[in-house]
């Protein structure tokens, strides 16, 4: 039997939490043999019966039993997954891809920059760091989101602060009653205290936002090799045999989705690569 499964493992939804009007976090328990544990940053192909598969990054705390994914409804398959409820069965193939490597920040500052739903793939890395807080110097979380109502994991931010993270949120557009930061997330990067030689930065969000955030971090002196981003391309098989997720020399299901900004920069600067 191949180490790369082609047949989905069956899981049952045991919890469903609406994060925003179009984003849902599902908790899953295995029906069949559970898949190998995810590392933060990895993804699985989630299958909705009769609908299809989509690649979704793990968003739950590593080491806990079961699987947690945060899904935004943007198409037929994600809509089916977002509408599914506790008791329903879905298929899971994975885990695939590279991980954030958060332990590479041991003894150093960890900066996590999230844009929109990009906070979901970063959450496992952050939770892993907070669970071993003494291994890291400063832990800073900078979150950019569209409006206050679009903030995912809003109820956890205070817990993260209590566990020793400096969490700052900015919105592109305020709504009535918001008294926090208003502006692009790169403004938060400009204002935070950065130690250029002892920092690991993890960035996730829309590709434009990641480019801008990585540039802002570079401008503060963080080496491109110490900035990691999570790239996305059309994925079909997840197991490096269909050719869809190519970005230049990389097959993102195997060489990504997490790659260093240093490796990404020459690829992202070519239009339509």
């Amino acid at each position: 039997m191949s180490s790369l499964q082609a047949v989905p493992a069956r899981y049952r939804i045991v919890s469903r939490a609406a994060e925003t009007s179009d984003t849902v976090t599902l908790g899953l328990e295995p029906v069949d043999e559970p898949i190998a544990p995810h590392q933060p940053g990895q993804f699985a192909m989630l299958y909705a019966f009769g609908s299809g598969e989509v690649p979704i990054s793990i968003s739950g705390e590593p080491g806990r039993p079961g699987l947690v994914y945060t899904i935004r409804s943007v198409g037929a398959v994600t809509r089916a997954l977002c509408e599914a409820g506790p008791g329903q069965m879905i298929g899971v193939r994975g885990p695939y891809g590279t991980d954030w490597g958060v332990t590479d920040a041991a003894g150093q500052d960890l900066i996590v920059v999230a844009g929109g739903i990009g906070l979901a793939p970063l959450r496992p890395a952050l939770l892993a760091a907070l669970a071993a807080r003494e291994r890291y110097r400063r832990v800073t979380v900078l979150i950019g989101t569209r409006t206050p109502g679009d903030l995912v994991f809003a109820g956890e931010l205070d817990t993260w602060r209590e566990q020793g993270a400096d969490v700052r949120v900015t919105v592109d557009r305020a709504t009535a009653g918001w008294r926090g930061h208003v502006g692009v997330v790169t403004q938060l990067i400009d204002r935070v205290d950065v130690d250029p030689v002892a920092t690991l930065a993890l960035v996730c969000g829309p590709e434009v936002m990641m480019r801008l955030a990585a540039r802002a971090l570079s401008a503060r002196g963080v080496a491109p090799g110490r900035i990691r981003i999570s790239l996305e391309r059309n994925m079909r098989c997840g197991i490096a045999e269909c050719g869809h997720c190519q970005l230049g020399p990389l097959l993102l299901c195997r060489d990504g989705p997490v790659i260093s900004y240093q490796r990404a920069v020459p690829l992202l600067s070519v239009k339509e690569l």
């Binding site: 191949s2 180490s3 790369l4 069956r10 059309n234 079909r236 045999e241 050719g243 020399p249 070519v270």
Partner: protein
Amino acid sequence: MDGPIPGDGPLLMEAAALDSLLEALRGAGYRVIGPTVRDRAIILDELGSAGDLPFGWGVSLEPGGYRIRRRDDSAAFGHSAGPQSWKQFLHPPRQKVWSAHRTAGGFEVEAADEPAPRLAFFGVRPCDLRAIQIQDQVLGRGEHAGSRYAARRAGVFIVAVNCTEPGATCFCASMDTGPQAGPGYDLALTEMAGEGTHRFLIDVGSPAGAGMLAGVPVRRADNATAGSARSAVAGAADQMGRLMPADILHDLMAGSESAARWDDVASRCLTCGNCTMACPTCFCTTVEDVTDLSGDHAERWQLWDSCFDLDFSHLHGGPVRSSPRSRYRQWLTHKLGTWHDQFGSSGCVGCGRCIVWCPVGIDLTEEVAALQAEAGQAQNSPTAPPHAQTGGEL
């Protein structure tokens, strides 16, 4: 006679004995696939007998042109660049991956486990043999060692045919894949069809190959005949219609991202994807999830796909590679360049099919020469433009 041993020197077989070899293969449980004439082309299909081979048929090849023609001799393998390659048997165009059906508690999934057919490939050109090995690397090794491709591949018996007469669009010599077959065959034939004689020099490449000749009338080849066959193959290397600078291709492709030549080829390319269908190493697939009308039964099918298809790079409401320029660039830079980074070899074997089967006759050797010239000019020009920068203007 005693069973031949691999490496013990070539053998000789009369063309009349081909049926004996085919029967030996069938007797061993193989379905024999080989070239045959159909619909005014030489295609690959199951051979009922040696008579199905395209004796006396050759081809006229040019960019965007393929015609079969009558040869002066009765050679069975005097042709190349047919519309199909062996990949359709190892990596089928449509395969069911799994099926699933609804149950009270959810659904159940069954992998589609068809037993791998026992196939004998009869008439594999050296370029196509290398192409099979390239696909082995992509689809059948490492983490793919347990894949269905690997299962199909494990059972295949390969009778290669060395080339003595390259097609007008061939360039296997440049890509170091021919005209002599490299290791990986069970038997390799070199055809000698002349006045009054029609026979094959046979090289044994494996114990299975040796065993298959047990009941076939073969004799030790004399030095003169063997020498004549060898030099015919070696001579073919000097008759190639095209050349490729294989050793600089990876770096040339890597540096070509903003080349003007891509606009030139894009003005001709129809993005029809014929090249990807005909190419023996192109392997990209997509998956299709389908249900029946009741919605209770679902199947996942794997289908050939092409990077020329607009949907191939679909992301967030649109394709990443939208322009024909970007799609042609993706195909060529992958085939000749980033394939090295991903799989450790070139993706091109010099078979020339993409040249022949392109409806507008785009010739990748010509495109490479133009890219090389453009890169050379850029290097020598004192006003060479800097690499494209992302903007910072107002």
